[in-house]
């Protein structure tokens, strides 16, 4: 069924995917049991574990939708969604390959040259090649079209100068896509923007940490000081950067990581309530309320995945999922705090309810900021309603 105002095509997980789900679950169970990783909230952005990424790749669980001729598995979007859900549900450390798998690979498939696909896609699918996102700048956050990083034409390529910020994982990834202005702003703000594939170890690139309020190093400032980018690393068409970036956002905003960031905490909360002798009926009802929202959001995210797979425009639906989903992630942390009546002790042992609570809370401001603030997302939805 679809609302005529905001069309969303309903998709369910096809029954044939249960064996795949079971296989992933068995693998993750054994990884946790042998201590390969400790489950935690917000692991998709901060759990960087390259050996783990390579083990996933050996199972064919990275680059699943990349065609076989580029080293991928040629599987469906819903196959991939099942694997992502399982990884997020246990808070597995997937940050190293997450961005490359989620948005770099689809962008390369859509806009990349044959040479770029041949160079990057097999390495991404092998869990060895990691990307960061070079969109935001000190003066360009939600207003992405105002980027000031300049790309100047030189012999054999372009020279990039400017500063990118909030670049997650830039200190560990090898590459990032940089959105830059390749022609002066002549009134149409969306014209004259282009995307470049930039090596984070290239000459002229300086990466500096910007620490989170917890002191963790995830964000960076990346300074580009006349960095040379050869022509073969221009992504898509010069001047088409705006359209390319907005289509990338459909992938960036609609995935299950936009509602499952705090799932390890929610699962631990259910165990806590179950364990307590009284099984407080009010707490059980609260868990039901959160479960209802979770099930609803999951169906939305699956449906957007189905729309993306069918090549339908999904940027508005994706904005909707992310607005509702990320507020749910924050609500989980708030509810868990009240229901468990537990001090958020930052020195709690890793993997415990309290450690999930601490991390879920301390990371919560980010959920509704990254990937486009929720205010901007609601603006995207409102604009679509005006057009309807």
């Amino acid at each position: 069924m679809s609302s005529r105002v905001l069309p969303i095509d309903v998709v369910r997980v096809p029954p044939g995917l249960e064996p795949l789900r079971a296989e992933v679950r068995t693998f993750l169970d054994s990884e946790i049991r042998r201590g390969a990783f400790t489950p935690q909230c917000d692991s998709w952005l901060t759990g960087w574990d390259e050996p783990f990424s390579r083990r996933l790749a050996e199972h064919g669980w990275i680059g699943m939708t990349i065609p076989r001729r580029y080293g991928g598995q040629g599987r469906t979007v819903l196959d991939r969604q099942v694997v992502l859900e399982e990884l997020l549900a246990v808070g597995a450390p997937v940050a190293a390959h997450w961005i490359a798998d989620r948005q770099t690979a689809p962008s390369l498939l859509r806009y990349g040259s044959e040479q770029q696909r041949a160079e990057f896609l097999p390495e991404i699918a092998a869990g060895r090649c990691y990307f960061a996102i070079g969109m935001s700048e000190p003066d360009s956050g939600s207003d992405l079209a105002s980027v000031r990083t300049r790309a100047v034409r030189v012999a054999g390529g372009w020279r990039l100068t400017g500063t990118k910020v909030w670049t997650s994982g830039a200190h560990r990834a090898q590459w990032f896509f940089v959105l830059a202005r390749s022609a002066p702003d002549t009134g149409d703000r969306h014209a004259g923007l282009s995307q470049f594939i930039v090596n984070l170890r290239a000459e002229g690139v300086t990466v500096r940490p910007i620490r989170l309020l917890t002191g963790e190093h995830e964000f960076n400032e990346v300074q580009l000081d006349g960095v040379f980018v050869p022509d073969r690393y221009v992504l898509g068409e010069i001047g088409s950067g705006w359209g390319q970036v907005t289509s990338e956002l459909g992938y960036e905003r609609s995935g299950p990581e936009r509602l499952l960031t705090t799932f390890p905490l929610l699962a631990a909360l259910v165990s806590e309530v179950r364990r307590r002798a009284d099984r407080d009926p009010a707490a059980v009802a609260e868990i039901g309320a959160l479960t209802s929202r979770l099930l609803t959001l999951r169906q939305l995210s699956l449906s957007v995945a189905g729309m993306l797979a069918a090549g339908k425009p999904a940027d508005v639906a994706a904005a909707l999922v992310k607005d509702l989903g990320t507020r749910f992630e924050q609500e989980v942390a708030e509810r868990a705090r009240m229901l468990a009546d537990e001090m958020p002790d930052p020195d709690a042992a890793p993997g415990t309810f309290t450690s999930h609570l601490v991390r879920g809370l301390l990371h919560s401001p980010g959920y509704t900021l990254r990937g486009g603030t929720n205010e901007v997302l609601r603006g995207v939805v409102a604009k679509a309603l005006e057009r309807a």
């Binding site: 069924m1 105002v5 309903v10 939805v381 409102a382």
Partner: protein, 353 residues
């Protein structure tokens, strides 16, 4: 959603448009009998009933699409009662399903006594939708060996009641009422009071999500036309964010309700519980914001917004309000091996609960 469902939705919307704004504004109880006739001709009233029982032999998804359109158009007809409840009970009782209108009830405290040639029933059928207008009432007697009784609706015996939108919600007292044995059938144990409630809740979740879309449509139109301070009020960011919030809740409600209905021939009870809780909560938000944006005008009996919001306020409490279903879901979450297993269990594990 596939092409076939889109086509059914379009036909249903066309039929619903026979319920004119004038008729809707005049409505003060009763039902839209002409719309019902058109729904009957299209076989929409018995869509999910097997052909062998006199139905159209379609799936639950097809029926869900039509119910959603009924909700969007706020047409007073006993469609969920006929298609999802009475049709299901009569099929289980191996009876041919008449075209209706039918209604259904699953009383929890009915005394059932065998007697010569049949049964005697004592108890109450409470707040039965369209009770006095239905031709027949399918009554589920939920016991260890459940029975389905089919009563001719004693039109005059009903005590008339209504919901906030004025739709009939009638009560029937049975006092040693004789029902002939041929009208009482033992049915499979899966035909339980719980399954009845799940189906009813699915119907209300679908009606609610349709009505929320109608509230949104009306609000978008009004906010685009009404000017204050020299511009349409939709240009104020505070207002446009109200519209976005309504759209998000409506889309979420429709998506989860349709998901619950596309699990197979039976609703997925976990998704139905989620859908009713979601729709119930969202109904309050959407009704509040719709009235807020419409201003005082929408708060009058001259404006059709009341036809939608009074239904939102009624349907969310029928077949279990959001707290009821949240308790059910919470208990299921605590009983499952872990929460994620509950979330990802395939539909066949969850049919009927």
């Amino acid at each position: 959603m596939n092409e076939e469902l889109h086509a059914i939705a379009a036909t249903a919307a066309q039929i619903c448009s026979e319920w004119t704004p004038e008729a809707a504004a005049r409505y003060s109880g009763g039902w839209a009998d002409e719309v019902w006739d058109s729904l009957t001709k299209a076989e929409f009233t018995v869509l999910p009933v097997p052909e062998s029982s006199g139905g159209a032999g379609a799936g639950l998804a097809e029926a869900a699409v039509v119910v959603h359109e009924i909700g969007r158009a706020a047409v007073p007809v006993p469609l969920t009662e006929t298609a999802l409840l009475a049709g299901w009970l009569l099929t289980a009782a191996s009876r041919t399903v008449p075209t209706g209108p039918l209604t259904a009830s699953a009383p929890t405290d009915m005394a059932v006594d065998r007697c010569a040639g049949g049964y005697r029933l004592t108890g109450k059928l409470s707040r039965v939708p369209y009770g006095h207008l239905a031709e027949r009432v399918a009554v589920l007697l939920d016991r260890a060996e459940p029975l389905v009784a089919i009563l001719d609706s004693p039109r005059e015996a009903w005590e008339r009641g209504r919901n906030l939108a004025g739709e009939p919600r009638d009560t029937l007292l049975l006092q040693d009422t004789f029902v002939p044995g041929e009208d009482v059938t033992e049915v499979d144990a899966t035909i339980s009071g719980r399954a009845f409630r799940v189906r009813g809740a699915l119907g209300r979740a679908l009606l609610l999500s349709g009505a929320m879309e109608a509230a949104l449509d009306s609000t978008i139109t009004y906010a685009g036309q009404r000017e204050q301070f020299g511009r349409p009020i939709s240009r104020f960011q505070a207002v446009s964010h109200h519209l976005a919030a309504m759209a998000e809740e409506a889309a979420a409600s429709t998506t989860v309700a349709m998901s619950a209905a596309t699990a197979g021939q039976q609703p997925d009870w976990i998704l139905t519980a989620a859908a009713k809780a979601q729709a119930g909560r969202a109904a309050g938000v959407v009704a509040r914001l719709a009235h807020q944006v419409h201003g005082a005008l929408g708060f009058t009996d001259e404006h059709p917004l009341r036809l939608i919001t009074t239904r939102l306020w009624s349907w969310r409490d029928e077949f279990g309000n959001e707290r009821f279903w949240e308790r059910q879901l919470g208990a299921a979450a605590c009983a499952a091996p872990d929460l994620w297993t509950l979330v990802t269990d395939p539909a066949e594990v969850r049919a009927n609960g």
